[in-house]
């Protein structure tokens, strides 16, 4: 998944073991969970949508879907040896690695999906002084952290509601600004850190602070599937995967490839997609009807609808696209009374039918 990164970071330790050899469960083999899958695909097409928060029942395959995503992301060109994964076509002028080199060699790498484990410390997330070098050679050198590895990719936090508050603050701050600035231990360094933040969690473990909810672009309420056929299908496929993971993945490879190609084409076309004034007005009207705070909801709504249009091969954004992305883009932004029991999704649906069917 992040093979390159792991080797780079881990090879110095003598007892390090190679990563897990079982290939991850293929994305296209996931049964159901269409909302989550679509949200991830849309963010893979347009990173500026601003991340996915998947909240809901246990044992619904949230983690499986996000792990599978890595195989779908189109490969990208990076400067060889750059720990910040600079794009050779647009080198970050402040990059601590590339800015001091005269020539850059380009290489193709898989886009990163970096997992932030619970219990991660700030020095490994942001990056810190390379301790070994400092001790042995007396050199001040910055050792990049997870935010550097996640640049131009995805950063996944499972059980985000259990993450320490100060780390969540750091993550959201960097995710919003796209830059990671480190001022510690006599170091002063900044580098690009543009990534799609994906969080998942279970509300029974504790709610997420309301001000954090709104910072995620789209919100997916993940529910246990209730259709018996679907449930049997899920268990059957999982059984087949466990029996022979390699064969299973080989069987689904073509479907995954097709999906990846679709994402690449959608990305390329994204800027040509037109959004008519009428659609923009409807989007605004929807946000006003719902009384969602700020412009973030409206922007997300527009971008998600545009990415969906691109994914479906259309050239213009229609009302149908808006309708399809309204719930994930807006449901978590409604002004929330902690005691209000009425379902936010239902409120969005009502507003959608009021605006569209008027």
């Amino acid at each position: 998944m992040l093979g390159g990164f792991c080797v780079f970071m881990v090879c110095r330790f003598e007892s390090a073991q190679p990563g897990v050899t079982v290939p991850p469960y293929p994305f296209s083999a996931i049964v159901g969970q269409d909302d989550l899958k679509r949200a991830l695909i849309l963010c893979a097409i347009d990173a500026s949508i601003g991340g996915v928060l998947a909240f809901g029942d246990r044992g619904t395959g949230k983690t499986t879907a996000i792990r599978a995503l890595a195989a779908l992301l189109p490969p990208q060109n990076v400067v060889e040896g750059c720990p910040y994964r600079c794009d050779p076509a647009a080198i970050d002028p402040t990059c601590p690695h590339c800015s001091i080199l005269k020539s850059h060699k380009s290489t193709t790498r898989q886009a990163p999906v970096v997992t932030l484990p619970l219990g991660a410390t700030e020095d490994r997330v942001l990056g810190a002084l390379d301790l070994e070098r400092a001790l042995v050679k007396g050199e001040m050198r910055f050792e990049p952290g997870l935010l550097a590895s996640a640049n131009r990719g995805f950063l996944y936090v499972d059980e985000v509601n259990l993450l320490d508050d100060h780390l969540v603050d750091v993550l959201l701050d960097v995710a919003a600004s796209g830059r990671n600035t480190v001022e510690r231990e006599g170091l002063s360094i900044a580098h690009a850190a543009r990534f799609v933040l994906v969080g998942s969690g279970n509300p029974e473990e504790g709610d997420l602070r309301p001000q954090l909810l709104d910072r995620f672009g789209v919100f997916v309420d993940v529910r246990t599937p209730v259709n018996p056929k679907e449930r049997v299908q899920i268990v059957r496929r999982r059984d087949a995967y466990e029996r022979a993971p390699k064969t299973f993945c080989a069987d689904w490879k073509n479907k995954d490839r097709k999906l990846q190609k679709q994402i690449m084409e959608a990305r390329a076309r994204l800027n040509e997609i037109e959004t008519s004034d009428a659609v923009l007005e409807t989007a605004a009207e929807l946000c006003i009807t719902l009384g969602s705070d700020g412009l973030r909801g409206e922007l997300t709504l527009q971008r998600a609808a545009r990415a969906l249009a691109a994914f479906e091969g259309e050239t213009t954004v229609t009302h149908e696209h808006l309708r399809a992305v309204a719930r994930p883009s807006l449901a978590h932004r409604l002004r929330k009374d902690p005691l209000d029991d009425s379902d936010a999704s239902a409120r969005v649906d009502r507003a959608v039918s009021a605006v569209f069917d008027a």
Partner: protein, 596 residues
């Protein structure tokens, strides 16, 4: 409550089961089967939740499991309070200092790869402590990013979680429970019945081979999945565990294909502990309506297919659940007695408690432990300047960093609600309103909230301490009301919960909403005199527990009796105002918490 329901409801079946239950034989046989099934695929089955006190039976079961392990299968014991870096791995200070280069070492979870990790006192884990273990179970690897280390280690293990919890509230965190497929209860098995497992290591080895090739007929797979849905088990991990268990049982039995009887045993093992025991006709409340999204689930209308096999499996699950309920019922009763006799838990707290926080420069703080890693980190850049001639590290006072333990005393608000008939008629709506108002306050402060309600004959902890508003709301909405007022029982239950919270290092605040007219004694008699005596005694005991208490009198007019009771427990007393009740309560609680 539980004792009442299960004993009363299943009189007929109970007679048949009584003898088997009395000698605990069934439970040991079940524990043996669970042990063998688990060993066939420890990582695939996730783990075994072992409920029961420390003692010869538990030790024996663990010894039997270890006896059946293959030579290359590790068994790693993880004591309570193991620090995270030992659990997950990280920089080894000892080796780093010896070799002069940073050396990382594997953690205990990774050392258990291919075998079994056994967590002791798992009921003491917080869900945030359990999360890394849960994540290792999920991914089969340990991934750490901390204190200068970044590594991934293979960690495909099965977990044994030893749970010594008392009472239904004290148990392993849900995020860990969810990832363990099997569960046994050793509490009531007498030591003489614990016999050596029939299977030997070679049997397990043979079963492992057969397991990987075992075939599950489609009809059985479907039945296994459907039964989970019918037993109201939502998570899809459960049917997967059940499927694996059925294959393991088939392999142990020497079947190349999973038979119906294998599936039956597997359903009983995996689903049995997850479902509530079956109920009799008049008791069976209508299942709670699915809460939301009714509209966007058109497929829900489709009825679950029902077949003969499925009926058999459901029956197996229900029998298993019934057995479990009988076991719990006996336990609750004996605990109630123990509690009535009065028992104070240890409340001492060791130093350095709390979660480790970021280290801080020492600056004259002499009482803290030094954090070596961050001290090194601070000293490292200056070594050249300070001239390291003799190869020794040059440390200055300014480099010293100390360990800090974050110990923000968390507040845990315990609501004790009078849901008896008199209260229900008068003020229950007001009381609910007051609690809801308070909840938004707690939500902002991120306090823990729990809910005890008392009515009829006993009190019940409707909600053990949680931060989840969703759950609080649900419990409050479904609060039943009516009946007599077992105030004494409510108070002693509140004391138990408050003490258990103090044991966890939290600061409990008990909010009692009642009219103070307890009319049921601890032994459930309705003799007024005994009831009053018990209530008074329970109040004084509660006062002695050291928790802060707020007493809201919910009578129509403030009553001297309630005031006297409140004084007996050393509580702050306030009548619940008729309207705008909510603001008054919230204000009072806010002040009490704020003062601390």
């Amino acid at each position: 409550m539980i004792a009442e329901r299960s004993a009363g409801a299943f009189e007929a079946r109970r007679a048949a089961l009584d003898r088997a239950y009395a000698n605990g034989l069934i439970f040991w046989e079940r524990a043996e089967l669970v042990g063998a099934v688990f060993l066939v695929d420890p990582a695939g089955l996730g783990g075994v939740h072992v409920r029961g006190p420390v003692g010869p039976v538990r030790d024996f079961w663990l010894a039997q499991v270890q006896r059946l392990l293959a030579a290359d299968q590790p068994f790693v014991s993880i004591p309570a309070g193991t620090p995270e870096d030992r659990l997950l791995g990280g920089i080894s200070l000892e080796r780093s200092l010896r070799t002069g280069a940073l050396t990382a070492e594997r953690g205990l979870l990774s050392e258990a790869d291919g075998g079994i990790a056994c967590v002791r006192m798992a009921e003491r884990l917080e869900s945030s402590d359990a999360a890394p273990i849960a994540s290792a179970l999920e991914c089969g690897e340990v991934h750490i990013e901390r204190a200068g280390t970044s590594r991934r280690d293979r960690a495909g293990f099965g977990l044994i979680a030893l749970d010594e919890g008392e009472g239904p509230d004290e148990t392993v965190p849900a995020n860990l429970m969810e990832r363990m497929g099997l569960s046994i209860d050793l509490t009531d098995i007498p030591p003489r019945l614990a016999m050596a497992f029939e299977a030997g290591p070679h049997d397990i080895a043979a079963a492992k081979l057969a397991y990987s090739k075992a075939i599950v007929p489609d009809a059985i797979l479907e039945a296994i999945v459907h039964v989970a849905a019918r037993a109201q088990i939502g998570s899809l991990r459960a049917p997967l565990f059940c499927l694996r268990a059925s294959k393991a049982i088939a392999a142990l039995e020497g079947h190349s294909e999973v038979t119906e009887s294998d599936a039956r045993s597997a359903c009983a093992l995996v689903y049995g502990p997850l479902v509530a025991p079956p109920q009799t006709e008049e008791e069976a409340a209508p299942p709670p309506p699915p809460e939301q999204h009714e509209a966007d689930r058109p497929d829900q209308a489709e009825p679950l297919p029902e077949g003969v096999l499925e009926e058999q499996l459901i029956q197996a699950v229900q029998n298993a659940a019934l057995l479990g309920a009988l076991q719990t019922a006996a336990r609750v009763e004996s605990q109630r007695r123990a509690h009535a006799e009065g028992r104070y838990g240890a409340k001492s707290r060791g130093g350095g408690k709390g979660r480790p926080d970021r280290p801080r420069p020492a600056r004259g703080r002499r009482t803290h432990r030094i954090d070596l890693l961050s001290t090194l980190r601070a000293a490292a850049p200056w070594q050249k300047l300070r001239g390291r001639g003799d190869g020794r590290l040059k440390l200055r006072a300014s480099d010293l960093n100390v360990k800090r333990h974050r110990h923000r005393a968390e507040s845990s608000v315990i609501f004790v609600v009078d849901a008896s008939g008199s209260a229900a008629l008068n003020r229950l709506a007001d009381v609910k309103g007051a609690i809801e108002m308070l909840l938004s306050e707690c939500y902002a402060r991120r306090d823990l909230v729990s809910l005890i309600a008392f009515r009829d004959e006993t009190s019940e902890t409707l909600l053990s301490p949680t931060r989840s508003l969703t759950r609080v709301r649900r419990a409050l909405a479904g609060l039943p009301a009516g009946g007599t007022t077992p105030l004494a029982d409510g108070l002693s239950q509140a004391r138990g919960l408050a003490e258990s919270e103090m044991g966890r290092g939290r600061t409990p605040l008990i909010v009692i909403l009642s009219d103070g007219r307890g009319n049921v004694a601890l032994n459930r008699s309705t003799d007024r005199e005994i009831a009053r005596g018990d209530t008074d005694k329970a109040a004084r005991r509660l006062g002695a527990s050291g928790a802060s208490i707020l007493f809201f009198d919910t009578s129509r007019r403030p009553s001297p009796g309630a005031k006297a009771l409140s004084d007996a427990m050393g509580a702050a007393y306030a009548p619940l105002p008729p309207s705008h009740a909510s603001q008054a309560v919230a204000g009072a609680v806010r002040n009490t918490i704020g003062r601390r």
